[in-house]
């Protein structure tokens, strides 16, 4: 990563991000997001100039560890109620286009 210069994103980079995010975007959207993301990332450069002492921990390591709940059987949601929201289903299963030929 190079810092301290205006951020720019290539068309190819934006297409790559959209593919990773599983978003089908129009050419107009790709171009708009390329410009907007570059402006936003530019603003974010101010973080890079901030010196952080080595002992500072990342905030995504909680000081008190998370606990798992006991592995006990408990009632869940009724299958029929869940399937009512499916865009396509058959025999109480979600239906999707074929994955294997």
């Amino acid at each position: 990563m190079r810092y301290n210069q205006a951020m720019s994103l290539s068309q190819q980079q934006v297409e790559h991000i959209a593919a990773l995010a599983r978003l089908e975007l129009s050419a107009e959207e790709l171009d708009r997001f390329r410009r907007q993301l570059a402006a936003i990332l530019d603003h974010f450069q101010q973080l890079q100039s901030l010196e952080i002492p080595a002992e500072v921990l990342s905030a995504d390591h909680p000081e008190e560890g998370m606990t798992l709940r006991p592995d006990e059987l408990c009632p869940g949601l009724a299958l029929d109620a869940l399937m009512r929201n499916a865009p396509e289903s058959e025999r109480r299963q979600f239906k999707i286009p074929p994955v294997f030929e």
């Binding site: 990563m1 934006v14 790559h16 991000i17 959209a18 990773l20 995010a21 599983r22 978003l23 089908e24 975007l25 959207e29 997001f33 907007q36 993301l37 402006a39 936003i40 990332l41 603003h43 974010f44 101010q46 973080l47 890079q48 901030l50 952080i52 500072v56 921990l57 990342s58 905030a59 995504d60 998370m66 606990t67 798992l68 709940r69 949601l77 009724a78 109620a81 869940l82 009512r84 929201n85 499916a86 865009p87 396509e88 979600f94 999707i96 286009p97 994955v99």
Partner: protein
């Protein structure tokens, strides 16, 4: 029945218990008000008059039984409430303001909803929100633009804009909202109502459609701190269905009629050097003087790293959103955009049915987590987040509460930030730090600008000190009347 909609939670409770009016009368008065004002304000996505009247009837039966045989009435019995449309209410559509959930009807209640129902509340409907709570104006809703009851050309704030507008216009006495980066406090400030963001983990998020899991909280809005305390008392407490829910025991908040003697309130000089609208700065200065008049001691504190809150938040929240929103793929719920292959179904459904801001944040978050950039963006942001948390720890060694602006300006015109997302993000500078540090904060009205639009102030407390926040806001409201102002009846 107009007078019924002016009653506070405490007055409604007394009236209901005494039998002066029924929950059905109260609910009908609100439903009539909603019917009249909704075409002008668009505060709701889904109205639930049948459900509301059914619940009101049940509340009336329970009230009659209590009057006959005695016993304790649950705290919100028979009182209407509006629910932000990112919280699941069983059998009511829940859209999260998005086309991708247009057809979704949850078969379960969010814990927060379950708790207000157990407390006896009556659900009026689901309020408008920025899509997946991503926004500061409610303009990012896929359904409609909610208008600010104080000026219909202005935004109500966001993302809980529907809830704030509904409370301000007396379309609901109470409302639930959510606050990930200010989404309860900022619309509360723009609409002149009181809004509480609890400590991270204090209120269960089970059944809240996740946006940014390390920041999301469920909060409450009403006209006064006393009413907000009533909702908070029903909401908080451990829930095994949310792994981040705190085990800390429930603590009923009981407000007293007392002044603020002995309370140390910190202010940050930099906040007032920030580009504040002059009337906002003036109203805040007067409000801080009022806290002093009530006996509080005002001290200077420093929060040096909070000036990085915008980049830190707008890296971490979109990164988490990009993962959380992966579940919306057109397979299990919501409408589907047909395509030949499964990956094409995902991409087309998401591309067509997510709105602009959601796609922008997913793109931003995906970039911040992508190979080669993760350490520079996400990693760095998490370290600066830790520095912001430490700033607060240090400040709270000196003071009990911190007073701060909620927003740099009063409610801005609809469309003011169109096409310029960064300018909208920068408006969140004062609300983001409490989320990044996981702290409770409250916003309430303390003045008006030259166009009669409300100005809000924010108080931030150390973790788990919601009682201190609510008491300070209550003491302020006992001595002032900003929270009792209502929008121009001519307009509505």
């Amino acid at each position: 029945m107009t007078e019924l909609i002016q009653l506070s939670l405490q007055q409604m409770r007394r009236g209901l218990l005494a039998g002066d009016f029924s929950s059905q009368e109260l609910t009908r008065a609100y439903l009539e008000r909603v019917e009249r004002l909704e075409p002008h304000l668009n505060a709701f996505i889904t109205l639930a008059p049948e459900l509301a009247l059914r619940q009101a009837r049940a509340a009336d039966e329970r009230l009659a039984e209590i009057r006959r045989q005695g016993g304790e009435a649950p705290p919100l019995l028979g009182v209407p409430i509006a629910i932000k449309d990112v919280l699941a209410v069983r059998d009511l559509p829940c859209t999260a303001g998005s086309r991708i959930l247009e057809t979704f009807v949850p078969p379960y209640n969010a814990t927060a909803v379950e708790r207000v129902l157990e407390a006896g509340a009556v659900v009026l409907g689901k309020t408008n929100t920025d899509e997946f709570a991503m926004g500061s104006s409610t303009e990012n809703s896929a359904y409609e633009v909610t208008r600010n009851p104080w000026n219909l050309e202005r935004v109500p704030g966001g993302s809980s804009g529907g809830s704030a507008a509904a409370v301000a216009a007396r379309m609901a006495p109470l409302a639930l909202g959510t606050d990930t980066g200010g989404s309860v406090r900022q619309p509360a400030a723009f609409c002149g109502v009181t809004g509480l963001k609890p400590t991270y983990g204090r209120v269960s998020r089970f059944g809240l459609f996740a946006y940014a899991s390390s920041l999301d909280t469920v909060g409450a809005l009403a006209r006064s701190a006393e009413e907000v305390a009533g909702i908070y008392n029903a909401l908080h407490g451990h829930d095994r269905r949310d792994a981040t829910s705190l085990k800390h025991p429930r603590e009923e908040v009981v407000l007293k009629n007392e002044d603020l003697r002995g309370l140390r309130v910190g202010i940050v000089a930099e906040h007032f050097q920030h580009d504040l609208q002059p009337e906002v700065a003036r109203a805040l200065q007067v409000a801080v003087q009022q806290l002093e008049t009530l006996g509080a001691k005002v001290l200077d504190v420093q929060l040096p790293h909070t000036r990085y809150a915008v980049p830190v938040y707008y890296i971490i929240a979109p990164a988490e959103a990009s993962a959380n929103l992966a579940r919306y793929d057109g397979v299990r719920y919501g409408p589907r955009q047909p395509a030949e292959t499964l990956p094409a179904v995902y991409a087309r459904t998401r591309g067509k049915l997510f709105g602009r801001e959601v796609k922008r944040r997913i793109m931003l978050g995906t970039f911040a987590l992508s190979a080669g950039y993760q350490e520079a963006y996400y990693g760095k942001a998490q370290k600066v987040r830790r520095l912001i948390q430490q700033d607060f720890v240090r400040a709270f060694e000196k003071v009990d509460l911190i007073a701060a602006p909620v927003t740099p300006t009063t409610a801005f015109p609809i469309g003011a930030h169109r096409g310029d997302p960064l300018s909208m993000y920068l408006e969140d500078i004062f609300t983001l730090p409490a989320n990044l540090a996981g702290l409770p904060a409250i916003a309430f009205p303390v003045g008006v600008d030259d166009q009669n639009l409300p100005v809000g102030m924010q108080l931030i407390a150390p973790a788990l000190h919601e009682d201190r926040l609510l008491q300070a806001a209550h003491s302020y409201q006992q001595a002032t009347s900003w929270h009792q102002r209502t929008p121009d009846p001519e307009l509505l």
